[in-house]
């Protein structure tokens, strides 16, 4: 505030800078709102479109609110829309995704917790090499394993099945789940393990009684991460499933890109929202952990 006296008295300068400040604040909030509209617009369009009739879509414009709200498109998307030759909506595929995601998330999280526990707390020769190999695996483009995996699933007799997809998701999710738990456990002093060893506890006892009770935050992060990954997956789903076992993302794409009949945009949008609901729900309920997983998966990886 050294230059105040030179600009015509302190009070005047203050009120001037106060006005500039206010103007800047208004511009700032305006900019933030415009960006918010940009991010919200597609969701808004999806929802309104899904509530319109096809006639209204053809005559009205993209952003208008529905004149007559109708849930026909939702009903159709859920249980009638055609995915290729089948016309049962996304419902069976939604359940497929559930059946793939739940065991996939549980198994990969459990294995990741054990791996992370070993790598962080039971360092032995080669444990770091193992970790580096796993970390590397997080980054490969999955195209490079698609062909041999298709053959391998055939050899194992689980090609085109839901267990087959669970297996694939567990294998390629391990890198990240191990990374999450390793980075979490590595910050826990190894004196804890030593104290428990002196107390007579063994490998699993220490994991079960001491580390697992400490792990709730990282379990939530990992479960959310894996759930989002598996639920939103398309590449594995489209490559390794067959008619009855496709996940919901594949079904959605089939509905949208099916060339038969009239293009029902409202049904497309309803189906897209249905496919997005579980992960959106998780995001709204546990956004903090969702973001933590994203940043941990990228900054640390």
């Amino acid at each position: 505030m050294a230059d105040i006296s030179s600009s015509g008295g302190p009070s005047m300068a203050r009120s001037q800078s106060q006005t500039t400040k206010l103007a800047l604040r208004i511009i700032l909030y305006l900019a933030l709102c415009i960006f918010a509209l940009f991010y919200l617009m597609p969701l808004f369009v999806m929802i309104t479109t899904s509530l319109k009739s096809l006639d209204e879509i053809r005559t009205g414009d993209l952003m208008s609110l529905p004149r007559d709200v109708t849930f026909d498109a939702w009903r159709s998307a859920w249980s009638e829309a055609c995915t290729g030759i089948q016309c049962e909506g996304v419902r069976p595929f939604f359940w497929n995704s559930v059946l793939i995601a739940i065991p996939g998330v549980l198994i990969s999280t459990l294995l990741g917790a054990l791996n992370g526990y070993v790598v962080a707390q039971w360092r032995f020769k080669g444990a770091n090499i193992f970790f580096a190999l796993m970390l590397f695996g997080c980054f490969i483009p999955f195209q490079v394993v698609l062909l041999p995996m298709a053959r391998m699933l055939g050899v194992m007799g689980i090609a085109g099945t839901i267990p087959g997809l669970v297996f694939v998701h567990v294998i390629y999710g391990l890198g990240f789940t191990t990374l999450f738990f390793r980075n979490y456990y590595v910050s826990i002093p190894d004196e804890l393990t030593k104290a428990a060893k002196v107390d007579g506890a063994g490998f699993f006892r220490i994991f079960w009684s001491i580390f697992l009770p400490l792990s709730l935050p990282i379990i939530v992060v990992t479960v959310i991460w894996q759930f989002t990954q598996i639920w939103n997956d398309f590449l594995f789903g489209v490559s390794f499933s067959q008619a009855g076992t496709q996940p919901v993302t594949v079904a959605l794409n089939n509905i949208v890109n099916s060339t038969t009949g009239v293009k029902e945009y409202n049904v497309d949008m309803a189906a897209a929202i249905i496919a997005a609901l579980p992960t959106l729900f998780v995001y709204v309920v546990a956004g903090k952990y969702f973001i933590r997983g994203l940043t941990a998966g990228s900054v640390k990886g």
Binding site: P189, K194, K197, V198, G200, I210
Partner: protein
């Protein structure tokens, strides 16, 4: 009776780097052994080896007469207190203390009785239902002690247990550990980098550096007769003055010449050591350079010195001068007449002087 802990020719390597080199230590029942040294000297590694938390690369380790070299920590009949206390964060204080017994399958009634006993002993009864996160540093320290005490082991191991406490609490807990040791008559191995802790607690001190034992002895032996320059410098505060000097045989004694910044060298006569080489390092504790009136040893010798700095410290006043090219500290009484920049006559107690060989650093007398 066999020693309670006997370490024989112990080696420990990490890959190609040797961390511990030919360690031999043994203690009797009731001993309080302190492993002391600067950080990275291998003292904590040695403790971990004794606990069985680190495999050893060579040698043998006996606890209570039994060879424990390849025995897992839980079967060594030991208990350990860690620097970070290592309390299990999700368990209450009571569960922390009884976890070991629970793992071992001790019946609940015994667990309860022992918990009560230990809690009373350490005055932590009111904390039993809290979690470690709700405790202060001192309280955590007590709980960690309780977890060890409840085991009633042959040997207690402490890994820098006081280093996370603030200065005042540290002194209190130090006294408490000493009292506990005297009351229980237990055998203890205690690691610290704090030489005052070592002096006050130990019945036996092991000074280590670079994975090699420098000296083993009672606190008095270590303090009064350090085995080499490292021990001399490391133990004691303020540190022992280590003054380069020339020794010349002279009749039935030795003349010790110490150079001064300006003027003639100081010459002192040592009548007890007649066998010194020409170049020596003379080690004098600060309290062995004092006001002539207060130092009444028969080996006292008086010399004039130029005082450079005077540092009053309450009970004592430290005077710093330059002798043999080194800063030398004398411990004078509080009301000394010494002034910075003035000459002062000081008495050197040659009865307590140590001599070291400058090249090897080994003790000569």
């Amino acid at each position: 009776m066999s020693p309670i802990l006997d370490v024989k020719n112990l080696y420990k390597n990490y890959g190609a780097t040797a961390v511990l080199h030919d360690i031999n230590v043994s203690i009797e029942e009731g001993d309080f052994l302190v492993l002391v040294g600067p950080s990275g000297c291998g003292k904590s590694t040695l403790l971990n080896c004794i606990a069985g938390l680190e495999p050893i690369s060579g040698g043998d380790l006996f606890i209570g007469g039994q060879n424990m070299t390849n025995v897992s920590p839980k079967d060594r009949d030991i208990a350990m207190v860690f620097q970070s206390y290592a309390l299990y964060p999700t368990m209450t204080v009571a569960k922390n203390i009884t976890f070991g017994m629970k793992v071992r399958g001790v019946d609940p009634a015994t667990q309860e009785a022992k918990l009560k006993h230990v809690a009373a002993q350490l005055q932590i009864e009111q904390l039993l239902h809290r979690k470690p996160g709700q405790l202060s540093g001192g309280q955590r320290q007590r709980v960690a002690m309780g977890r060890a005490l409840v085991r009633d082991p042959k040997l207690f191991l402490f890994d820098e247990p006081l280093s996370n406490l603030d200065a005042k609490l540290r002194v209190e807990m130090r006294t408490e550990i000493k009292a506990l040791h005297q009351k229980l008559g237990a055998s203890m191995v205690y690691v610290t980098h704090d030489q005052i802790e070592a002096m006050t607690l130990a019945t036996k001190i092991v000074v280590m550096k670079g994975g090699v034992i420098q000296q083993i002895g009672s606190p008095a032996e270590i303090y009064n007769r350090p085995a080499n320059l490292f021990v001399a410098d490391f133990m004691g505060s303020p540190a022992m003055n280590l003054i380069p000097a020339k020794a010349r045989r002279n009749g039935n004694g030795t003349k010790i010449e110490i150079a001064r910044k300006d003027g003639e060298p100081i010459v002192l006569t040592d009548t007890r050591n007649t066998d010194l080489p020409e170049d020596v390092i003379m080690g004098v504790r600060p309290e062995d350079i004092a006001d002539p009136a207060r130092l009444t040893s028969e080996h006292a010798q008086i010399a004039e010195c130029l005082i450079e700095i005077v540092e009053p410290a309450g009970a004592d006043t430290y005077a710093v001068m330059q002798l043999g090219g080194k800063h030398v500290t004398a411990r004078l009484h509080a009301e000394t007449s010494a002034k910075a920049g003035a000459q002062q006559s000081l008495a050197f107690d040659l009865g307590k002087v140590s001599y070291f060989e400058p090249e090897t650093g080994q003790r000569l007398n």
